[in-house]
Structure formats: structure tokens, C-alpha cells
Amino acid sequence: MTAVLYVPRDSAARSVGADAVAQAIADEAAARGADVKIVRNGSRGMFWLEPLVEVETAAGRVAYGPVAAEDVPSLFDAGLLAGDGHHALALGLTEEIPFLKHQERLTFARVGVIDPLDLASLSAWGGLDGLKAALEMDGAAICAAIAESGLRGRGGAGFPAGIKWKTVHDQPTGQKYICCNADEGDSGTFADRMIMEGDPFTLIEGMAIAGLAVGAEDGYIYIRSEYPDAIATMRAAAELMEQAGWLGADIGGSGKTFRLHVRRGAGAYICGEESSMLESLEGKRGTVRAKPPIPAIHGLFGKPTVVNNVLTLATVPVILAKGADYYKGFGMGRSRGTKPFQLAGNIRHGGLVEKAFGVTLRQLIEEFGGGTASGRPFRAAQVGGPLGAYVDAAMLDLETDYENFAGNDAMLGHGGIVVFDDSVDMAAMARFAFEFCEIESCGKCTPCRIGAVRGKETVEKIQRGENVDANLELVADLCETMRDGSLCAMGGLTPMPVLSAMRLFPEDFNTTPLMAAE
């Protein structure tokens, strides 16, 4: 009987040796004359356990991890192929691992479970059900279903997807576009990458549904160049979908058209901002556009355009397949459904946690994440990317909800949570926030372009102990100008990490000049 094993092909798993493990398993099986089939799945998102090897058994998939190539012979000796649990690396049934068991995976339901490029077996996992349902509906009904589900943009801004789609739908017919923003440049985020590498078909399906909803026949996916594996997987998946008739001139035999174009970014963080991304897709410098007009009316090449991020579009199929009410049943307040959170940085159990809105930061960081990786006390976490606020230990009981975070001078953003232990210097982090803005500003508006440079210099003065009070006031003033005067979120939100660091960790900003040592 063939033993079926799973070794992830996700680039994070490969970054800690998954390829070598897969090879070692194949070699060991050959040497022992064992019949094995190795499936290269996506990652389950438990990165401290990567490379995670799973074996199919009658009771379900059994996990081992983190496995190194050297462990393979002893794993075979201990009955790996039968899923025998007598080995130091044995973790039991994968689905029973608490980190995974306590999640609510809708968008990530298949990530880490399936071979991401096995279209033939996709239907067994519910793949394409959403697209098939959408093909039976008219555009207005699809837009209404998305609105009803309460889905808001998972890229960070949280704008209701249904309203955006309806705006594009209501524009006069003609050329329209679907643009998927896969320029996930925020530190602490990797959910988009995991979807693109682990279940690319769900994203393509979501884009095709968006096309049917608004009457767009062309979709672009703009992927950052730092993700070569995601680019390759998306391209391969698009080709498979086209060969199978789910993309192109006659999707699913419906007579409707949807073409997908995969485009690479070129290392500019600002192109994650939707209007910069549109400029970049047009072959130009990625400078932001003033709004209005909004992209829904005047987007790519001046045409009505839906711009959504990867997670938003990848969530669309499950909503169509299982109904708006099912999705709406998760979450709290006006934050409906689930949110993929990413635990990153100095954290013991780093990884992907998809959970209904409302889960607290403490549950995420302490229960799922197991505290800091260093074992030192927790001091701060940055939530929502480099433009998100820092939170301290007193804020850990905040429930994750867009409005709740905004009410506490923080933001949920893309759901990235970067943990720092007590060795962090928050003045240095504030300085870095300005430096990052200086490096990545598109340069179009003055508050962002100049403010970032002056902000960095002023924080450096504070760090050196020069006129601390006056300079703290100056930074606060500058932040107000950047927030109110910048054209986009780059300059507008850089004050978030800076001001939160100053507010919550004032002791790091009150350094006085050091006395001469001698």
C-alpha cells in the first residue's frame, strides 16, 4: 500500500529545509523499498514546527515536526509511514494540535491541506463551488451577496467590499478591471503569500467572481517581486485554470469571459497603496493619485476598477459557496467573518491564526503565540504593519474589531502582529518608522517626503538628549501635519507608530546626555 506523506512547498517551510526533508524521505523510502507518495502541500502556518511532515492514516493526518533531513532514518525506524506516534518529533493528529484546532479557518480552509496546484482533486475540497454558484447569478445579485456577508477589505482599510463592487457594477458597461493587490509589504504579514503559495485557485476563483459581479473581463494581480515563489505558483495556477476552462473566453462553459494577467512589482512598498499600484500597472512610477476620483470610477487606464487585496478576494468563494449568512455568523459588531492574523517577530509560536473578529490580542499573543521567543518579558507589539500603532501590555485585552482598534488609536490593518520583548528601544523604533517612510515615500507630497526626513532627524536629537521636551513637541506637531496633509496612508499613518511609542513608552524618549565616562 502506498503511504501518502505531506511536506510543504511553502517558501517559509523551504527556508528552513523542507526540500531537503522531502528528498531525504524519498531517498530513505527507496533504500528501504517502501512505496511512498510525497505531496508538496502549502503550509499549515505553524512555522515553529516547520518543516512539518504529515502522514495520512485512517484516523486522519498525523504530524511530525520540526523535521530535519537527519531525522528521517529514525522517523522511518519509529514507524513514520504508519503514523506511529513513538518518536520525539511526533505531534499526533494535525487537526488536534491546539494552535490549529482552536482556529476558524474559512479563507485558509485548504491552505496546508492540499497540493496547491492539483486542480483535478480541488472539487473534493469544495474548490470552484463559489464560482459555479456565481455563474448562476447576475452581477447585481453577486454584489448584494458580498454586501450582505459584511465582508470588508482585508488589506487594512476595511472598506465594505460589497459597496465597492456595486459602485463598479453601476458604472456604464465597457472596459472594467479587477485588480488584486498582492503587494503585501508590511513587516509581520505573510498571509497573502501563504494563500498564493498554498491555495492559488481560491484567489483566482475570487477574482473571476468579482469579474462576473461587476462586468469586468480582465483581471490583474500585482505581486511584489520579493515573493518569487508566489509569483511562480500563481502563474502556474492561472495556466492550469485556463487549460481547464475556468479562465479565458468561456469560463465553465458559461460563454462569459475572464482573463487573468500576473504582474510583478519592483521593490517599492508604496505600490501597496491602491492608486500607486494602478500607476505601476500602467508602467509608470508608483506615485499616488489624488482622490477623488476613486478607482471604482476612474481606475486602471482610467476605467472603473475593483481594487481588493488577496485575502478579500480569496474569501469571496466561501461566501458564494456557503452563503452570506454563514459568513456573517462569525465576528463582532461591524467586523464580520474571520480575520487571518499573523504572529511574527519575537514570538515562540509564530504563524497564521484565522479566527473570527473579537479574539483578543492576549489570546493571540499568549495562547496561540506562547509569548516571546526569547523567553524575556513582553514589552510591545506593533499591530497592522509598519504604519500601525504599537500596543503595550495594558492593551492586550483589546478585542480585534476595526472600530474598537480605531477607538484606541490603533489599527488592525492586515492583521500582522509583531512582538517585541523588553530589550526593544522604542525611541529607535520611532526613528525607524520615520526612516522607513523616508526610504519608501513616493515623493509626491511634501508632508510625507520632507516630514519623514525631519522626523527622523528630530528623533535622533531626542535620542542624543538635545532639547528633549521641545523636540518631543516638534515631533508631535510634525506628526499632525503629516497625518492631515499627506496624500495617502504612507505619510498619513507614519505618525501612528511614532506617536504610540511616545505615548506608551515615554521612558525611552527621556534620555539625558551621558556623563563623560572618565
Binding site: G265, G350, M429
Partner: protein, 161 residues
Amino acid sequence: MIEAENAPPPAGAVAEATAICARHGNDPAALLEILHDLQEETGFVPEATLPAIASALNLSRAEVHGVVSFYHDYRRAPAGPVVVKLCRAEACQSMGALALIETVCAARGIKLGGTSEDGVTIEPVYCLGNCALAPAAMVNGRLVGRADAARLDTAVREARS
């Protein structure tokens, strides 16, 4: 001033650039893809190819120059045969990325952004999407998680072979 940084174009680079533009239908919207393809072929984007690209795409030379200079990815001179990108974004900083960068640069006797005598270019990057396995690095396009100096040396050796 910018010209001073530019390396002379390899033989045939201009013809190559024109051919790549044609392959993309001389579509100005494909400019980023064209520049990526050219850089993959020639190792960098030679200044001397810009007029040919501008002419093929019906753009001004200034527009093409503006795009080349805007994006961090495009090089105006070749890098070493091994390129090590070290993440210095927040998640990696929380796991000691800045100290790692200092160590790695000092060991090769270069500053961040430079190329060592044995042909290793070390560059900063802001997020590789491997934030749960920080510090993150990328060596010739291959991601390295939980990076330290020893693991990076191994990755550099593998990239050479």
C-alpha cells in the same frame, strides 16, 4: 552625477532591450516587466538601453529613466554573482536583524549595499514575508529563515555551486 554610477553596457544589450520590448508588444504598460526581463538577461539595466526602450514604447527617455530610478529592484551596475538580501523591517529587528547585518557586513569587509571581493553583494530589504521565522534573508532568490551568520555562509556556498 547619476551617469558616474552607471556601468558600460554589455555587447548587444541595446538590441536585446529592443527585442524584449517587441516580445511585450511594445506595450508601455509592460515597462516594469520589460525592465525585469532585461535585468535578468544582462544583470542590470544599462543606461545605454534607455533610449531604445523609450523609442520602442513611444515614451520619453525621461519617463523611462523615471521608472528605472523609482523602483529599488533595478540596478544600474551589475551586482556580484551572489546577492544576499537581509531584511531590516520590524519583525526581523525584533529578532536581532540589525546586529546580524552588522556581523555579516563586517565579516566581508563591506558596507550594506556593497559587494565584497569574493563577489557577494549584501543589500537591505524590507520584508520577505518570512516574519515568523525571523531574521529573514534571501540568497539569490532563495529564502533563508532563522538566519544567522553560519546559515548564511552555507547558503552563499550553495548559491555558488
